[in-house]
Symmetry: C2
Subunit: 268 residues, 2 copies
């Protein structure tokens, strides 16, 4: 069931006219309970799209920003990008025999969540750099796409990109049908989220904001490429979410949706 | 004459349907000479928009990137943002009596271009930080807008935002009428260019990439604001232009237009 929804959504992302037809129907958010949340969203959209109304907002200023982990897709048992990191460490381990006796790599190889927890943010960052840097942006994109196409959630036995929230997909389509531009502002990696955002959410790469590492222009075999370096560029979380939104969008969104402490400043 | 063109363009920016009608006419680039440049642009657009053709590009991937200084607007006698810096130093000088004996401020106050040249990039950066940091993003935006509304080019006696190239305005409109998303990738300040890009070029702030300084989230008088700090974040020039394009757009543009050495890597 979830799969059917997702597939049709992926098509909708490429056929805006169809989204509009579907969403302009009588009940734009069918999966939502008839409660205060739905009511306030529908009233808000009616208000800002009412021509001549006191709260009218021109289409070009209708920007809505969404957190990703825990808002658009699930985040249990762990951030999916974290699970990607651990899978990559295991895939790369044969080329790094030294990892099997070295923390935090040993913990990732053995799926030892307790030892990984003990390694803390610093340890996690070491794993991120070992798996996210040293290749071109195109090579990284291919690696993530391959992983998303083959890896599955341990409990639900489904691809991670199927574990998205149907009510939120409806909300994205509803807002776009009302001329909103929908953005993701994620604490996750910008290039990681961009590999699936268009297909899964109908959000093109240029409307994804996220954490990033430094990239460097190089010419390899006569071809210009960008190489990912093991150095943090920007962490898009907490007080930095409004910074990232200002940097990428340059004006205040009129709507924001998030689920965690890291979204508090953005919601302000 | 230039003013009429600009004014109508500013309106076009907000009425995309009108742009389409205007530009779908027989001659889409009326100010262009009937030469090789125009021919190659028109052929390129015909090719990528031809459904079923070998070179067809879906609308969501039609991204065109433009340099600003010297490409969309003029850059003589000096980058206009540089002239803004010198004007701001003069405007702020009464609050900084120490500047009148201190380089490079003294040179800016006295409009001594030779001494400014001798101060080099380091000196210019010192002036940029003194005039671009220490205020909120909203205060900075207001200052730039006030300056653009009142300052005039020494030779042409026109506002700087009138010194834009008519053929390039036509090219922007022509590409947008063919479902291109038009971006600016400028070596200039991102928040500087964003203050006028929508009105002058029809390019909204979220489609402007540029150099930036660090901003910090703060709550002032109970209101969340972003404060501009005297610290470089990103220089969007040379080898960093493709880096900026990848960061902000996340895919390769299919067209790029620039006029200087600093655009070479972007054009590659």
């Amino acid at each position: 069931m979830e799969k059917i929804v997702l597939t049709s959504l992926a098509i909708l992302g490429f056929v805006p006219a169809l989204v509009q037809q579907v969403s302009a129907q009588a009940n734009p958010l069918p999966s939502w309970n008839e409660g205060a949340a739905k009511k306030s969203i529908v009233e808000f959209v009616a208000k800002v799209t009412k021509k001549g109304g006191r709260d009218f907002v021109p289409p070009m200023e209708r920007i809505a920003v969404f957190d990703n982990d825990g808002t658009l897709w699930a985040e249990q048992p762990f951030y999916f990008q974290g699970l990607f990191v651990f899978d990559r460490v295991r895939a790369l381990a044969p080329q790094h025999p030294e990892w099997k006796d070295k923390q935090p790599f040993k913990a990732a190889i053995e799926n030892d969540m307790k030892a990984l927890g003990a390694a803390g943010l610093h340890g996690l960052l070491e794993l991120v750099m070992a798996t996210h840097a040293g290749m071109t942006t195109e090579e990284f994109e291919r690696t993530v796409k391959d992983w998303l196409a083959t890896a599955g959630h341990a409990k639900f036995k489904l691809p991670y990109t199927d574990l998205v929230y149907q009510p939120m997909l409806e909300l994205l389509a509803y807002l776009r049908a009302n001329d909103f531009k929908t953005y993701i502002a994620s604490g996750g990696g910008i290039e990681f989220v961009r590999t699936f955002s268009e297909k899964v959410y109908g959000i093109p790469p240029e409307q994804v904001i996220g954490s990033s590492i430094v990239t460097k222009f190089e010419v390899r075999d006569g071809r210009p490429v960008l190489v990912r370096e093991p150095k943090l560029d920007f962490i898009d979380d907490g007080e930095c979410k409004p910074v990232g939104i200002n940097k990428f969008i340059g004006r205040r969104p009129i709507a924001a949706f998030g689920n965690s402490d890291g979204d508090f400043q953005m919601l302000e």
